[in-house]
């Protein structure tokens, strides 16, 4: 790299120790340009700063994208028009505290904004309502500087009091808050404090190097609302700071939004957005094909071949951490023996699964929660591949030379039942006879507590997990000894300690080093099997551009346009 040392020195001055450490990592070639951008943004380094550092190091500026777009030539941006979007109907009231479904969270981000935006297109954190953020030495305290001049759609100025109120409500254990699954063990209401009208400080219950993700758009409930907002009535106003404001909302039918004239950022190009709610995917696809809508907000490959393999539609594909997880009860025979668990893993033909079940819109996974979406992944760990001979050998060594029979519980959701069928077929080659029990989600999840849920109690259980910006929740909830979603009943003190180290680490190299140990441990123990990662997909007609989707079903339309 052709480096400008004097420029680099100039940029380094005034930076924190952690920031300088990241710059050293980049200069020494220990992190890629993409990882530098991503990790730097996590600790609050601005995009212009990152770009300047990269330029000084002789690399190009941050214009990375994790998306691919099969499209015809882009139509020129035009002002005006109504963009018609097919999206999943919100399953319940659009209440920022309680929303837990794709349709509901897509509605939240139409008018609501977060402190930070986790961009799937750039794979980096971007300032939104917070201009900058920084940790203390051990990442147990994070301080956020807010963006000045922001007003809510009712004209009220946004201050730190609103941010404090929002996060105190979200993290209050007495509230019916969906965000408690993110904040439990991380943040309590008393840990959120306003330092001044434009500064908020979060004091965490334990060091957390990835905390910015937990207050970013990744945590889809965390839109900032005015202090004192009654969340149960939010749906009647959709009050927020975003580029759009509510025009109308009709339960189960649709919603319309118009530009917010007092928006702090670049004004929206569209005159109006019109969301049409659907309760299943096929009608959404036919609506796009029939010209009733311009965009399908999010869809899965199954049943969408009419638009996936059609150059008449633009497809935005986002790398995501959306995956399926097969757990095996480590405390119930025959899965008490790690060799048996490994044997099951060796029977699987993962590339065929990606090709057949996902139409190629995904990538193989390696039985641990690290993957291409996360820069802290140690990519030197060898990929497990199908090896029936090895599977039989392991089974024989474990005392099951003729295989065994077991029941697999799973849910009726997207391609999950088909995956279960493929797993059963693959496992048969090694003599493992898997009987499937496919249930409705209500029956499968039950009360979602141990002893009351087929998901958590089944000897073998196959579940879906949605995208996250960091792997923390995948590492903790399903695999640590005290995790609430530990369907495998995996109790490993070494693993628990490694996860704690990983969560506390702010340094990418340190995270990666711990990740490598975690990956190798999980490959050895194989309490769970993760066969693949699934890309997020959004489709539009060719005359639409500027869409900014995320792989957790949000769709930002600030820069969207529709040409004639």
């Amino acid at each position: 790299m052709t480096r400008s040392n004097s420029e680099l020195d100039r940029l380094r001055s005034g930076r924190s120790e952690l920031e300088n450490h990241y710059i050293d990592e980049l200069v020494n070639g220990n992190v890629s340009r993409r990882d530098f951008i991503r990790k730097g943004s996590t600790i609050g380094m601005s995009v212009p700063l990152l770009g300047a550092i990269l330029a000084a190091c002789g690399a190009s500026s941050p214009a990375t994208s994790s998306s691919s777009s099969k499209t015809t030539a882009a139509a020129p941006a035009t002002k005006g028009g109504t963009l018609r979007i097919a999206s999943t109907a919100p399953a319940a009231a659009v209440n920022p505290l309680t929303v837990s479904d794709a349709g509901g969270l897509c509605m939240l981000n139409q008018t609501g904004e977060f402190l930070i935006f986790d961009s799937n297109l750039k794979l980096a954190l971007e300032p939104m309502l917070a201009l900058s953020w920084s940790p203390n030495a051990d990442a147990s305290v994070w301080t956020f500087k807010l963006r000045p001049g922001v007003t809510f759609s009712n004209g009220q100025a946004m201050t730190s009091a609103d941010v404090v109120y929002t996060f105190q409500e979200l993290s209050n254990p007495s509230n019916a808050s969906n965000a408690l699954s993110t904040f439990t063990g991380v943040l309590v209401p008393s840990g959120v404090k306003a330092i001044d009208p434009m500064t908020v400080q979060f004091t965490l219950q334990a060091p957390n190097g990835n905390f910015p993700y937990l207050v970013s758009s990744d945590n889809y409930n965390a839109i900032i609302v005015p202090k004192g907002t009654d969340f149960s009535k939010w749906q009647s106003t959709f009050i927020g700071t975003g580029a759009f404001k509510l025009s109308s909302y009709t339960q189960n039918v649709g919603a319309m939004f118009v530009p917010n004239p007092s928006y702090w950022g670049t004004k929206a190009l569209l005159s109006q957005t019109s969301f049409q709610f659907f309760t299943s995917q096929t009608p959404m696809i036919t609506a796009l094909q029939g010209g009733s809508v311009d965009v399908v907000a999010q869809f899965v490959p199954a049943g969408a071949s009419g638009i996936l393999n059609n150059a008449s539609y633009k497809i935005i594909k986002l790398q995501s951490a959306n995956h399926r997880e097969l757990s095996m009860r480590n405390d119930i025979a025959p899965f008490t023996d790690a060799r048996v668990r490994q044997a099951v893993a060796y029977t699987l033909n993962r590339p065929a699964m990606v090709a057949g079940l996902l139409d190629g819109d995904g990538s193989v996974a390696n039985d641990y929660p690290f993957g291409p979406r996360f820069p802290s992944t140690d990519t030197t760990v060898p990929q497990r591949t199908q090896n029936i001979a090895m599977a039989k050998q392991l089974l024989a060594a474990a005392g099951h030379p003729n295989g065994f029979s077991v029941k697999l519980d799973t849910e009726q959701y997207e391609e999950v039942p088909q995956l279960a069928t493929v797993i059963a077929q693959d496992a048969k080659a090694a003599g493992i006879d898997i009987a499937l029990n496919v249930e409705s989600q209500t029956l499968y999840y039950g009360k979602s507590t141990y002893g009351n849920s087929d998901w958590l109690d089944g000897t073998m259980s196959l579940v879906d997990y949605g995208d996250r910006g960091v792997p923390n929740v995948f590492l903790e909830a399903p695999l640590t000894s005290t995790g609430p979603w530990n369907a495998a009943r995996f109790h490993n003190p070494t693993y628990d300690a490694l996860v704690k180290q990983y969560v506390a680490a702010t340094d990418l190299s340190a995270q990666r080093a711990v990740a490598g140990k975690i990956e190798r441990l999980l490959l050895q123990e194989t309490p769970i099997i993760i066969p693949y990662w699934i890309d997020g997909l959004t489709a539009s007609t060719p005359n639409v551009g500027g869409l900014n989707p995320t792989s957790i079903a949000q769709l930002y339309l600030n820069t969207a346009y529709k040409s004639a």
Partner: protein, 313 residues
């Protein structure tokens, strides 16, 4: 007649009350709970418990039923808003679709049935009977998807959804309903035509029809004055009993064509364990069904004096 109607209304009210109790109790034994249904399977148990408490579902069952019945229709657990407007809007949409379907299929079915009966054994009778019988077994989701693909996607003659844009005129909204109505017509046509045919054949074979013919009445007059009003009696019953299907049983059609009718609302309420909404939907469908069947009974008795006189006795 008035006594007859009042008696029917009284019985209907008792039936509706029994229905409310049965549906409420059945809802209690469904797996899952409202708080978990709203917050999702991965939400913290403390949040679920807090929400269940807010919704009042941790109260005794009798208390919950009493709270609901004294505040009918009450507030939806899922949507956290008054049920009335949502239910009224959904019912309005379902009624629009049902009436549109009836306006097409009832005259068409009766006409075809009468034509078939007047030409018993002839090719036209066979075409109507076999064709109608075959069409009855075609599921709505099959014919619906074929229509969508052909007329909505390939030819782009008709919109692919049944919900017209806000502010659309009445005629525009009817245009959006053409495609979902066709599968319903296909399903109901054969049934109505067959009943009309059977009733007409019976009426044509009756003594009074033979007497009218022997009296010298022209065939056309005999059919119109004596046969039709009697042949339609079983058809009225069939049409009335199909109301329940058309009002509350169109979940698949409503899903395929993106039409938020009361069928889908009921289905979603059952999935979400939204008891107040589920109860309100079921009772509304039951009420509509009762009103239509009472109306059918009244029409029946108007067309058949023997029924009227027997009721008076």
């Amino acid at each position: 007649m008035l006594t007859f109607i009042l008696k029917r209304i009284g019985l209907a009210l008792i039936t509706l009350w029994l229905l409310s109790v049965i549906v409420f109790l059945l809802g209690q034994i469904l797996p899952g709970d409202p708080g978990r249904a709203i917050l999702g399977p991965l939400s913290a148990q403390s949040a679920v418990t807090a929400l269940d408490h807010q919704l009042g579902v941790d109260k005794p069952v009798i208390q919950q039923y009493w709270d609901w019945i004294t505040n009918f229709p009450g507030k939806s657990y899922t949507y956290q808003t008054a049920i009335g407007p949502i239910l009224t809007a959904a019912l309005g949409r379902s009624l629009k679709l049902a009436i549109f379907a009836f306006i097409i299929v009832v005259p068409l079915g009766i006409f075809a049935g009468v034509v078939a009966a007047l030409n018993v054994g002839n090719p036209i009778d066979k075409i109507i009977s076999v064709g109608g019988g075959s069409s009855t077994v075609i599921p709505e989701f099959v014919s619906g998807i074929i229509l969508l693909v052909v007329f909505g996607v390939a030819l782009k003659w008709l919109p692919t959804t049944a919900t017209a844009p806000p502010g659309s005129s009445f005629l525009t909204s009817l245009k959006y309903l053409i495609m979902p109505v066709i599968p319903l017509v296909i399903v109901l046509f054969g049934y109505i035509a067959r009943m009309a045919r059977t009733g007409t054949v019976e009426a044509l074979d009756s003594d009074y029809a033979r007497t009218a013919t022997l009296k010298g009445l022209p065939r056309r007059v005999m059919i119109r004055r004596h046969v039709l009003r009697n042949s339609l009696l079983p058809t009225i019953t069939v049409v009335a009993t199909q109301t329940g299907y058309l009002i509350g049983g169109l979940v698949v059609v409503e899903t395929i064509f993106r039409y938020q009718g009361i069928g889908q609302l009921t289905y979603q309420a059952a999935q979400q364990k939204d008891f107040p909404m589920l109860e309100a939907c079921v009772l509304t469908i039951g009420l509509v069904y009762m009103v239509v069947t009472i109306g059918a009974d009244v029409l029946f008795s108007l067309l058949n004096p023997r029924i009227r006189l027997r009721a008076a006795e």
